[in-house]
Amino acid sequence: MSARQVELPDEQATGALAQALAAALDGGLVILLHGELGAGKTSFARALLRALGVGERIKSPTYSLVESYRLPGGTAWHLDLYRIADPAELEWLGLDALADPSALVLVEWPERGEGALPPPDLRIRLDYAGGGRRAELEAASPRGARLLERLG
């Protein structure tokens, strides 16, 4: 599976990566966002949703656990499983809709929902790098691999 690494020295760089990903997106996708607290998972999710045309407030879903947004081609779901102690708790989130292949699904702290989440297409790992961040993108399905190819 293909993978790549992108340096994100500042917010503009994060925005540029989000723009490129949004342009390469073709229908739905399941993206798992890995990284420590404060590594920029929510900031990246926000930048991607903005790039896809979401005009409303994109708040951290840490407390609400899940937020949804309407996109031109379907629905976007933004999940944060930080406060989930057991994957069985995901039952209360009403996640059946995530299986919709046209949905864009962004999951922070996906390791806490193992077994209860739809299969991923793309994994993005965010790390601290100097004053900025580094992103590693790794395809996890043929759909994800095609996306990374289009990303160029």
Binding site: S60, W92, G94
Partner: protein, 349 residues
């Protein structure tokens, strides 16, 4: 056939997110708090061994198994039977769809079985009206600062259902910033209250963090960037116990200053002279002291409802529901929830 009798108690059910809360309230327009007959939360009940002899360890948000025992507990506390109820109020949104459906289905079914009206309540309206449960409640118009793990909002309250969102967070809520910053400095999550306690030992001026979005007009908040500021300062420090307290103090001052600046601006923008502080962060001592001092200087009055009414609870839902039922509003027999629901779209009562 619905029969409305508002000398009878209203059952309030809250299941929008983490907490399962149930309350019984008899509507008394002159002193709503005195009409509160019972007020139970699952998280508190768990602490009591008298919960049927067994203390069940149920998963977070398992409202299905928690709700009916809580309803029975509330009725028992008030010495009432289901047939004594005059109406049922449940949180219909915003929140988690699966969680909301539990309260709505149980509440609606109970009302149908008893032949009494039911009403779906907006969770945030519950928070905004909760201060009315206290003695000497604030009369509208007032400004409410709602600060908790999930919210950082300034709302103008002109009357029941007449709400205007003046400001909101663009990213993290204030309580979330406290909890996550505490975690970044090695305290167990959620460590907001522990961080605030640590800040009491911090020396003023040892560190300084920015007051986000106070250098421009507007009433929105942004607390996400503070996390990174604190983390960098912490990583570059000697990480001693005193340094941890110093960083905690500077962080708390940054949050509190920001909140106070925005509250003063909101009062100025609306002309209101009453400020209600609700939400779990409302328990923060520095925030309380700074706002009370600002009120003394600038001639506005501050209201701090007790913490039990600030965090998610059934009493605020019973109150908001009772007010709306008393104004003749109620739902039809469908079970409907609204995971996303605009507070400003509510009807006036």
């Amino acid at each position: 056939m619905d029969t409305s009798d508002f000398s009878k108690p209203v059952l309030g059910i809250e299941t929008s997110c983490d907490e399962t809360g149930v309350a019984l309230l008899r509507w008394q327009p002159d002193a709503p708090g005195r009409g509160l007959l019972a007020h139970v939360l699952y998280s508190q009940i768990k602490l009591h061994a008298d919960y049927g002899g067994v203390v069940p360890e149920l998963a977070s948000r398992d409202h299905v198994r928690k709700l009916l025992p809580l309803v029975r507990e509330a009725l028992a506390q008030a010495g009432l039977a289901p047939a004594d109820l005059g109406g049922v109020a449940y949180t219909a949104g915003p929140g988690l769809v699966g969680a909301l459906l539990v309260g709505a289905a149980a509440g609606r079914a109970l009302a149908w079985a008893l032949g009494v009206p039911a009403i779906g309540v907006h969770h945030m309206e519950g928070h905004l009206l909760a201060p009315l449960l206290e003695d000497d409640p604030p009369a509208p118009p007032f400004v409410a600062l709602l600060v908790s793990g999930g919210h950082s909002m300034l709302v103008e309250v002109k009357g029941i259902g007449r709400y205007r969102i003046l400001g909101d967070t663009l990213d993290d809520a204030a309580g979330e910033a406290f909890d996550k910053t505490a975690k970044l400095m090695g305290l167990p999550y959620p460590g907001g209250p522990a961080l605030a306690k640590l800040a009491e030992q911090g020396r003023p001026g040892a560190f300084h963090f920015s007051r986000p979005m106070t250098d421009r007009p507007g009433l929105d908040f942004s607390f996400s960037g503070l996390k990174t500021q604190v983390l960098l300062a912490w990583q570059q420090s000697d990480q001693s116990g005193q340094t941890r307290a110093d960083v905690a103090r500077a962080f708390e001052e940054a949050i509190v200053d920001t909140l106070v600046i925005k509250c003063r601006r909101a009062l100025e923008a609306t002309g209101a002279r009453r400020l209600v502080i609700a939400g779990g962060v409302g328990a923060n001592r520095r925030l309380r002291a700074e706002l009370a001092a600002a009120g003394g200087r600038e001639g506005f009055r501050t209201y701090f409802p007790r913490l039990a009414f600030c965090t998610d609870n059934g009493a605020m839902i019973a109150l908001a529901g009772a007010i709306r039922l008393a104004h003749g509003q109620h739902q039809d027999e469908r079970i409907q929830v609204f995971p996303r629901w605009d507070l400003e779209s509510l009807p006036a009562a």
